[in-house]
């Protein structure tokens, strides 16, 4: 009877158990990659936000650990390096000029497209390479002009800085000055934004940099305040998003165009007053010439790994970058990413100037 009872008890039910074939989950040979099946269901990934926050914190700390921007120091000059010029067609060529020898022209700049260059001294002269006399001379005001720059996009526009604290814009086609803006103190140099045709930044003696929109010169678009001494030179990155400024206070600072504070400061004990600075055309390196006769080469992104990266390295770098952006406003992360070591002279100057500003405000 027991077999009958058993057959009555045997049920016709539909049952399926979860059963995995290990061959589908384990690699076949040692030379294969491991198999990693993915399931993006959020219930399988608890604590996403805190874990990403800790990853962002680690990424920020590692960025500070790997921030070693100094690359090389080039010597050979016998006097302070006064000017640097980059070749727009070749990445590797750079010209540098030292202070030995008399200078007839205080500033010189070449047109971006045509065989024409401009010089300035008492007035702004436009020269053709083949001729011995200037094509045209322009002047507005009675004082000497210290620097002149061509606009890279609207190539007929020039900007110049004069000793009577003004910045004058010229039009080469009509051979006339166009506009003028007068600041409180003298501007040392200007630089045009290579991506936005009408934006230029002026490096001023009053420790600030002013970004102007050419169409509305009455008020600057942004005032960049971080230097503690006169700003001597400014140059834009080819991306048009950042610029680097060299100052008499022995440091160079990198500013984003839309922010008033610098994101990076580079200094060395051996680097004295920085006279000129250039951003290379591949937007990776910054060159600065200082008055102790050396040209220094720096990285534009201090913790960037140079050279060819593997795809995994690139993916990890991109992920870390995105994490740092996402959590950049959290207080601990902000504190770590803002931290920079400053030489004592600059640090004490900053404190002094802050107190002076507070006093003036009251």
């Amino acid at each position: 009877m027991c077999w009958l009872r058993r057959s009555l008890r045997r049920r016709k039910m539909k049952v399926k158990m979860l059963s995995r074939n290990p061959d589908h989950y384990v690699r076949e040979t040692k030379l294969d990659l491991h198999r990693v099946p993915r399931n993006y269901d959020p219930t399988l990934h608890p604590f996403e936000v805190p874990r990403e926050y800790i990853r962002a914190l680690n990424a920020t700390k590692l960025e500070r650990v790997f921030a070693k921007p100094f690359l090389a120091s080039l010597d050979g000059h016998r006097d302070g390096v006064n000017c640097l010029a980059k070749n727009p067609k070749s990445l590797a060529t750079v010209l540098s000029g030292a202070c030995d020898g008399e200078a007839m022209y205080t500033g010189i700049d070449h047109h971006w497209k045509e065989a024409v260059f401009a010089t300035c001294g008492q007035q702004v002269d436009i020269w053709d390479e083949q001729r011995t006399n200037p094509i045209c001379s322009m002047t507005w005001g009675f004082d000497s002009i210290s620097s002149v720059k061509f606009n890279p996009i609207e190539t007929f526009l020039l900007g110049s800085c004069a000793s009577d604290r003004n910045i004058v814009l010229y039009d080469m086609r009509q051979a006339t000055p166009l506009k003028k803006v007068i600041l409180d103190m003298r501007t040392n140099t200007i630089c045009w934004n290579p991506m936005e045709a009408f934006i230029f930044t002026a490096a001023n003696e009053d420790y600030n940099l002013y970004t102007f929109d050419m169409r509305a010169l009455d008020t600057p678009v942004m005032v960049h305040m971080d230097h503690v001494s006169a700003v001597l030179d400014v140059d834009y990155s080819p991306t048009g998003r950042e610029f680097v400024s060299a100052s008499f206070d022995k440091s160079i600072r990198i500013f984003p165009v839309d922010k008033s504070r610098s994101r990076e400061v580079y200094h060395t004990k051996r680097m004295q007053h920085v006279i000129c600075v250039r951003w290379t055309a591949d937007s990776k390196y910054i060159m600065c010439g200082s008055d102790e006769m050396n040209i220094r080469l720096w990285k534009a992104n201090a913790s960037e790994k140079l050279g060819v990266l593997t795809s995994r390295e690139k993916a990890a770098t991109d992920y870390n970058q995105k994490l740092k952006e996402k959590f950049q406003y959290h207080p601990h992360i902000k504190r770590i990413s803002r931290h920079r070591h400053l030489p004592k002279s600059i640090y004490s100057q900053i404190q002094e100037q802050r107190i002076m500003k507070e006093a003036r405000r009251r």
Partner: protein, 605 residues
Amino acid sequence: METVPKPGSNVPPKKDRLQAKKKKPRRYWEQETTGTAAGASPGPPRKRKRNRELRPQKPKKNDTSKKFRISKKPRELKSPGHQRSLSGAQDPFAGPAPVSVEVVQKYCRIDKSKEVPHPKTKTRSRLVAAEAQEEETSVRAARSELLLAEKPGFLEGEDGEDTAKIRQADIVEAVDIASAAKHFDLNLRQFGPYRLNYSSTGRHLAFGGRRGHVAALDWVTKKLMCEINVMEAVRDVRFLHSEALLAVAQNRWLHIYDNQGIELHCVRRCDRVTRLEFLPFHFLLVTASETGFLTYLDVSVGKIVAALNARAGRLSVMTQNPYNAVIHLGHSNGTVSLWSPAMKEPLAKILCHRGGVRAVAVDPTGTHMATSGLDHQLKLFDLRGTFQPLSARTLPQGAGHLAFSQRGLLAAGMGDVVNIWAGQGKASLPSLEQPYLTHRLSGHVHGLQFCPYEDVLGVGHSGGITSMLVPGSAEPNFDGLESNPYRSRKQRQEWEVKALLEKVPAELICLDPRALAEVDVVSLEQAKKERAERLGYDPDATAPFQPKPKQKGRSSTASLVKRKRKVMDQEHRDKVRQSLEQQPQKQEKAKPTRARPSALDRFVR
């Protein structure tokens, strides 16, 4: 835009030729205008026609050709149904793969009901951009579900039969041989009732008997890792972050063993521990003791992070909420309290039962909590939002142990019977009307846990260990980067390093784990005010004046007192002056509220 006129195109082209040849050349991948069969090859390109069509291409750059482009018939939009491949076949499932709205909803993380009050324009634009990006990403993530290989198990009786009547033996007969091997019974009557624990990948099992028998094995291959007798009563057993380390709550202290049975640590600060829990993403081992203390031990650094006095007597009912790492303690007055190591007081207290609470369990998504009490009730509570009971059921015998599975099934151990209730879908509330499965064991239940990625329920009882088959209880598709049951030793080592690097600090445990990603709404002044209220004084207020000690007899007591008095008087005078200045302002404000003066005002008292 002005263009430079090209030399040689001064002769205007003949209009008739252009009008006749305005058709662009037919490409072999485009639709056939002549009636050829769908599967037929397009054939060699007809050269003559192409030459004639090619010639008028040259003067197209002229302005006059613009007229013809406008007057041409509008090109037929390629409807998705008419896309043809090189062979001429049609794609039957043209277009992007469809996804259902519920699946897309599962991947949405932004809580649209929470509004940021008075957002600035920049914040508002950023939030709008983030929401748009999240929509796109959630659709893509939902579409990736097509690649999941496994399907969950199921059990259906014939003709609507009650699945609770189906016995384990029948399931074992009906199922494939690999799954049948997952059902086993270990008869261990000698060393007392057993408690058990599965590792986080579900591959390894550790159990400990009341009389000191502790063992760890790979239960799938039945390979024993270690088996020891600790010569002391064992109250609970837990794996730490991987199968390499084991925590055993012995009679006196807490001991940590290697998976080879070697004793590594004896933590004397955790004494008389009744229950253990491990928070995997924080690397915290939580112990509940008879002394009423809840201790959090960080196993990566070996420090006790917090020792909280629960002030509720003996603690013997504890479970963790896997969603937010909050510890739920059940008390003898019928309440369940929620604890976080950052706070000395419980985060919340929920009144659940009339008598004492005997068991608590929380489902892996953190939405439901099941509790059972001495009043023979089994209740389900909603944990996200209102802490209100959702459903309740009276049991003939109180359930001493509860466990949730990854897909939301609830198992209850009542005496020597195990009942399992299931819901409709994956994360739905289990319906307590009819049990899904039942099983009678050879001894009273002392421990219950569902195995993480297998359709198996492990039961520790006074007769040993039983592994029951529960089709449909486990998550079928694991994520290889989180927990991979098939990982090699190297993969485990790499995973361990990464998990340690992203270990969440204990201070971040709170009821809402997504709190860090929210927009900071509280303004600075409000935060300061709240702090002053909470502390009873304003910590930012200036410290009282301390006179500087001076030389040459100028800092005698009398002169110090005189200096202090001078500063106090000055401050007092400033305060009085300020209040005098404010008073006429207040009076000016009060004046306009009075009505116009009338002649009868002199009679008003």
